[in-house]
Chain length 447, copies 2
């Protein structure tokens, strides 16, 4: 399998994961004397900050995903493999994958994060996460299927369960998702479902701490809450989820909400590969790394981005799980690996926080840039500009821009398609309901 | 379920299917004194002529599908239901659906066509049809998965099977699909898979009759074949498929091709609903209708488009299964239904054939407009213009145009994403490989 063994032998760097961190790292190693292998279980990079717009019919999935092979086109020192890494063996410098075993000189774990249900099997089964493109498409199908079903549901309680949407977690993802649902209710539901009463659709945002957008400024927190309430979202703070059986969500204040749809953005944890010793896993199921992103006890094993926890003076509990941290760590680690190869001394990583932002529906966003803080329509333009420019690929940028301009002026979310119906019994997409070309009733073939 | 019963009672027209025919019919009945119910198992309309571009990564699926509710927004005499019609009972004027039974005054079957495997269970299982959006997405996944797998396949025969693509049927769909595969091989494969030898990918087009594009002019047939061969497609005419076991395709001339991918566009048949008497089904599994699209023996049962077979002087074996026929029959039937209600005499349907066209990769197309026939780059522009203008929805048109311009100048097919991996064992999409947010190895929750 290791076909390039034999010729001139550069140190081999294996990168697991083509997210924000892995991509920056690999790009910075372009033209360096290293032999890079990247493994990802998808053949595309996902721009996670816009997944909520896919889930709510505002953007095509395909315009926020980007083929990894295209990112590295012409980078002759990189080989990409669309394969799953099943185990790493840091003590003998190998990894096991779905297409065989590979040895490395340097290994970088850039696997990102996955949803954390805090041990609740019930929530893990019934709540809808939104960390990947397929998960966002599942959510889009389920939201639309619920509305279709509600039309013909005679029982008022079952109808309410179909039309109550509960978003858990008041971070940027939860806030943006709840806002987008509010827009959907206000501008699309009325036109698409004249038979339904718009007030029958209720959107809740449940946050365990006293405020939404915890790490942001007080101003941003207050504006975001106001914006959400203007859009008709019921914001419940200081309240946790107690249980959810697929029909009734019980909250820590005793309140119960009948709902078929709990959108889970209340917690994430590192997506740690098998083979990492338990004692190296810290708070948030992240891998403990030093200030060079090096895993304790190894000189050639690294973790970056969401899966890594680097404790520094400014961030004693690790850095926030956001794209800029992963990207900066990726770029920094590229330099560190070259220094290691050249036997030079390493320089510690320092995170440059450029600020944070969140949007809450049309003309409404909150932006904190250090001491500079603003909210409203200008913040909304800044949010759009930053996200558009961060997208990978010019085609994707244009298609997203066209959709945004269209959505803005038409008050529409044009992509409300149930392409992959979701089966709420099995909680998986249901190929049997979609793959049939014909359907009604296949007459005897050749008949 | 029939909530509107009781108030002023207009004649109820039930339309099964939101394809080209059903949509035109329903639109023409806008503002008329009828009570329209449309049923479709999808919540969107599919622009089938561009499915092949979805399958080959040139267009987003979402830009050739359009929400049916949006088409009929504000049409107050129409109710849409996203439900499956399981049976029709023309003798007591009712239909059975997945959401209950409904009675009608007029019933229009506009269910279109589905793939015809001419009784071969083997082909039905192993060949890949391309009549719906999900089927096109399956095809896109399979093509890309094959290329990824070929990279690491050591056995030369198994590798050839992954890289041989056989398109069956030399109609417009087969020709356009084979051409798009040729473009993919020429412009994308080389850049994305430098490890593969481009000549290892072989594309075959197999057509049972002596020519491709049978109903078109001799000029068009010859140019299309030349264009395909320029793109490296092996065109085999006068040859039929004998058998296919999932690995080896055997042809009627005895030739055998090892291939994992047989793209099926060799035959269609009407998607006839259960409840239609067997004696009403004719050639091509279509429902025999008179020149008013009326099903024999009924005064209030109609079929239009691909599912209908109307024998006329010009078309003794029924009209071609193309969008213009369905649209013209839909519009004509709208007038006929109003005439029936008003007890006026019906006017026979006459098809106005405006011509036909097919494209074969960049700068190459063939167009027949009656006596006017042309091929090459101008034909290609005409093809693009006509298809762009035929798309439903302004957003879709812009997004398709952006993609076409992008693809043209970049020689790229940007949407080569394996979002829904396809399982070649079960021949269905594989949710287990996609729905997992995390994946590598979920550590004990809460750990």
């Amino acid at each position: 399998m290791d076909t390039r063994e034999g010729s001139v032998r550069f140190p081999r760097v294996i990168i697991i994961g083509g997210g924000f961190g892995g991509i920056e790292l690999a790009k910075k190693l372009r033209n360096k004397e290293v032999d890079i292998w990247m493994f990802d279980k998808h053949n595309y990079h996902t721009f996670q900050p816009l997944l909520y717009q896919v889930a709510t019919g505002g953007l095509e999935a395909d315009s926020i995903a980007y083929p990894l092979r295209k990112i590295f086109k012409g980078q002759s020192n990189l080989i990409f493999r669309n394969a799953e890494v099943t185990k790493i063996n840091p003590d003998n410098n190998t990894i096991e994958t779905s297409i065989g075993n590979f040895s490395y000189d340097y290994l970088v774990i850039a696997t990102g994060s996955t949803s954390n249900f805090f041990g609740s099997k019930e929530l893990e089964h019934f709540a809808m996460p939104m960390k990947t493109v397929p998960e966002s498409l599942n959510l889009r199908s389920l939201i639309l299927q619920n509305l279709e079903q509600a039309l013909t549901e005679p029982d008022p309680v079952r109808k309410a369960a179909l039309l109550n949407f509960v978003v858990t977690g008041g971070g940027p993802t939860g806030v943006e998702l709840a806002g987008a649902l509010g827009e959907l209710k206000r501008h699309v539901l009325k036109k698409d479902y004249p038979e339904l009463n718009i007030d029958d659709m209720q959107i809740y945002l449940v946050e365990g701490s006293p405020v939404v957008l915890g790490p942001m400024s007080k101003q941003a927190q207050k504006s975001a809450k106001d914006f959400l309430e203007e859009l008709g979202v019921t914001v419940l703070t200081d309240i946790k989820v107690s249980s959810y059986d697929g029909n009734t969500l019980v909250l820590s204040n005793g309140q119960a909400i009948v709902t078929k749809t709990v959108l889970w953005s209340a917690g994430v944890m590192g997506d740690v590969p098998k083979g990492i010793k338990q004692e190296l896993i810290t708070r948030g199921t992240r891998i403990k790394v030093d200030e060079f992103n090096r895993v304790d006890g190894y000189n050639n094993l690294f973790a970056i981005g969401d899966v890594a926890s680097m404790s520094t003076k400014d961030y004693p509990n690790g850095h926030p799980g956001v794209a800029p941290v992963a990207m900066q760590q990726g770029r920094h680690l590229a330099k560190s690996i070259i220094r290691l190869i050249n036997k030079e001394e390493l320089i510690p990583f320092v995170y440059k926080d450029k600020g944070s932002m969140a949007t809450v529906g049309r003309n409404r966003a909150v932006v904190d840039l250090g001491k500079i803080r603003f909210q409203g329509i200008f913040a909304w333009f800044v949010w759009m500009f930053v996200h558009l420019m961060s997208l990978v690929g010019f085609r994707n940028r244009i298609v997203v821009l066209v959709n945004w301009v269209w959505n803005y002026f038409s008050y529409d979310r044009g992509i409300r398609l149930i392409i992959r119906p979701f089966n709420r019994q099995t909680m998986t997409p249901d190929p049997t309901k979609e793959a049939t070309g014909g359907s009604l009733n296949k007459p005897p073939s050749g008949g």
